[in-house]
Amino acid sequence: MASASTITAEREHYLNADYGFRSWLLTTDHKRIALLYLISITFFFFIGGFFALLIRLELLTPQGDLVQADTYNKLFSMHGQVMIFFFLIPAVPAVLGNFLVPMMIGAKDLAFPRINLLSWYLFIVGGGVMLYTMLTGGVDTGWTFYVPLSTAYLGTHVVLAAVSIFIAGFSSILTGLNFIVTIHRMRAPGMTWGRMPLFLWSNYATAIIQVLGTPVLAITLALVGLERMFHLGVFNPQLGGDPLLFQHLFWFYSHPAVYIMILPGMGVVSEIIPCFSRKRVFGYEFVALASIGIAVLGFLVWAHHMFVAGISLYSAMVFSFFSYLVAVPSAIKVFNWTATMYKGKIYYSTPMLYAMGFIGLFTMGGMTGLFLASLGVDVHVTDTYFVVAHFHYIMVGGMVMAYLAGMHFWWPKISGRMYPEAWGKLAAMIIFIGFNLTFFPQFILGWTGMPRRYHAYTPEFQVLNVLSTAGSTVLAVGYLLPMVYFLWSLRYGKEAGDNPWGAAGLEWKTASPPPTYNFEETPVVTWEAYNYDELPEEVPVVG
């Protein structure tokens, strides 16, 4: 196929097919909706990041001196709610997934293009309510909304925040539903399940969780609202309710939600490592089935958040056991990614640097998860900074690294332009260093006993907190860089061509940026996924 780079200016594609706000706000093109999501979640990412920086600055000194206690409580609550519901959950599925799922299976669009647009509008309405919540005083429930604190003791916008997440939840359900139907029904001829890229397997697994889990969160938040407004006694013991019931319901969604946040990232990494190792992924079937295994087992571990909450000894043991079981498929993935690099031909491109960073940081996050799954250890480190460090290693070290890996990998396809490779590598390094400096000290803080969600702390914890705050400023610089050079590249970046990485996958067999209906004609797949032994040995653009 001839390179389209010389004719990009004239050729019609999804970006120049139509102009004006209307053409964007009423689009049903999955690629345009992906960009709408990209802009929206980037906005929320920087809001959440700003809260995080304020939290770190407050913790520079043991006294609570930068902001007041209530303000601090609002900062970590809104940091959590914004980052989880308005960045991490939609990040890979709604941006990269929206863009890539139809292209990877050789389809023109998702199964329900208008529902796809509806899901973005629901996201925006939910996000708007969240913004309104913040601007009119915020909420200080934590992201966990624990009762009876949230239903009977706090004077902030608890119901508004719950409504915001309730609405955004439907956006997530609709995206999941769309992916499931699309992957089942719209694969191009020859695109069997066994030939699907692993990104699709992991987004499929994610979609199952979104569809099955999110309604439970919606119900739980609705009950919180009803108890708060109408004193319906569900959770508050003073009204005859049971506060542990809330925790069971909340974690029934919110633990699987962790996999909503990490599985798509695993999918991204499973695309990038084979490409820059010029080699089929090691143990394709095992990586694919591990995603499904995680989605299923992920529903059986929720009470490991409640080992000190007052559940029975025996149920704690069952949940500890299942928590170890769900760690097995994650371990399988890490080993397979590592083995993929063995005897490869490895290019140190920016996406590959992020992907290697992902392996390392996800491994550390996973390993510390083994500490938390062990009942005795969990008793000591739960609700401390050890947990905070652990889930940031998964969510930020894992998911955000994977998201950035994916953004760099597919940016040429999305925009038709190359980002500046040297700056990309620099930013990846800065983020890796800043991340570890921010979050590694928090493991030690937690182990030595510093509880989380503390506005002020005892003086012996200061040195580690200073290190962590220093790291967070490095991390902030690292996150601003890609934002700047991605925007720069839109105008000044080199034209990418159809397939700058020499990558396998149907999305690379069409032009960059792709035409509105993705392919000139429906592709017929006659090859296995990651057929790098049949593709050029060199990656054209990475020296």
């Binding site: 609570g64 009876p148 009977a152 143990g283 500890s320 371990a331 250890v377 008793v379 182990w447 503390y454």
Partner: protein
């Protein structure tokens, strides 16, 4: 080493020693595997850099390897699981000879009461080398009793009792933190556990201005509220005889058996109709709103102190001859 840069918390209880052994084991095993992954990724990246390799070698996978790296980690996980569960089980099953301390948490303070009647706020004095059992509840939201030096933590819930026990091994003053976010002053809900030598502890006990033991406070309240008119210490009362009941199984009207622990006594005072003892009628009024959390605890301490001469086994408390005021059972 550095006063404001600790990397290991103080070990001041048997539970801490038990846990540290497992933690070190976990650190070694997971540390080795993590370093192995780091080394492999780095090694492969260097060894197979694109300019050192003519062409990648196509490898599809290996069933032997997949089986190995599924089963071996799972085997190791089982060790973590069993070891952690054994520790958890041990630290959640209080020995029978424990001395009881009652804890009432509220936004944002810890109130602690000793069986001997001493009351403390945000401080708990305990003797070294004794088993201490905490019976905890909250007046408002969920809190969590966390002592890093003991490696122990337990959420404290409104409307029920949760328990924790420890055996301090080292005199000293240790942090008590609230570990469950509980509102504005969550980070101010901190205190100290003061572990003392037995002699010092005795001195502290005798110096305290206790108004009699907790059980005797409970006894007074028991009389004031008129509980004794039904819960008589013979078999003629309209309510069950409470002597020797605590800690024993109780046969209920619906045929179930429950253990008369703190939570059962609490429920029987606040919601008497929930679990009726076999042979009795649902005639007791609720004391919800009449007694506060601390008074409840004193009543429980009193019931606990009524360890009469009754033999163990199922306490039916069924009156030998029905009292005239108790009509025959309908069923």
């Amino acid at each position: 080493m550095f006063p404001n840069f600790p990397i290991w918390p103080v070990r001041a209880a048997t539970s801490a020693s038990n846990l540290d052994a497992l933690f070190i084991f976990l650190l070694l095993v997971t540390g080795m595997v993590t370093i192995m992954i780091f080394i492999l990724v780095t090694l492969f990246a260097l060894r197979y850099r694109h300019d050192r390799v003519e062409k990648a070698t196509p490898i599809l996978g290996s069933l032997a390897l997949e089986t190995t790296w599924s089963l071996v980690p799972f085997g190791i996980f089982l060790i973590f699981f069993v070891w952690g569960a054994v520790i958890y089980f041990g630290e959640r099953t209080a020995p029978a000879d424990s001395m009881d301390v009652y804890v009432v948490a509220k936004q944002w303070m810890w109130k602690l009461e000793h069986a001997d009647g001493q009351r403390e706020i945000n401080e708990l004095h305990v003797p070294v080398d004794r088993n201490v059992k905490l019976i905890m509840t909250s007046q408002d939201v969920i809190h969590s009793f966390f002592v890093p030096a003991f490696r122990l933590k337990q959420d404290v819930l409104p409307g029920r009792y949760t328990t924790l026990w420890f055996h301090a091994i080292r005199p000293g003053t240790y942090h008590l933190f609230c570990a469950e976010y509980c509102g504005t002053q969550h980070s101010g809900m901190i205190g100290s556990i003061i572990v003392m030598n037995p002699a010092e502890y005795e001195a502290w006990l005798s110096g305290g201005g206790g108004e009699g033991s907790l059980a005797s406070t409970g006894q007074k309240l028991f009389q004031q509220l008129g509980c004794g008119s039904c819960h008589r210490s013979d078999t003629q009362g309209r309510g069950p005889n409470l002597v020797g009941v605590f800690g024993k199984p109780v046969l209920l009207e619906d045929g179930r058996t429950v253990t008369a622990d703190e939570n059962y006594v609490r429920e029987s005072i606040l919601n008497p109709g929930a679990k009726i003892v076999a042979g009795f009628k649902n005639i007791m009024p609720s004391f919800q709103g009449v007694v506060n959390e601390e008074q409840l605890l004193s009543l429980i301490a009193y019931v606990k102190s009524l360890q009469g001469s009754q033999p163990g086994g199922i306490v039916s408390n069924r009156p030998a001859v029905p009292n005239v005021s108790v009509r025959p059972r309908v069923k």
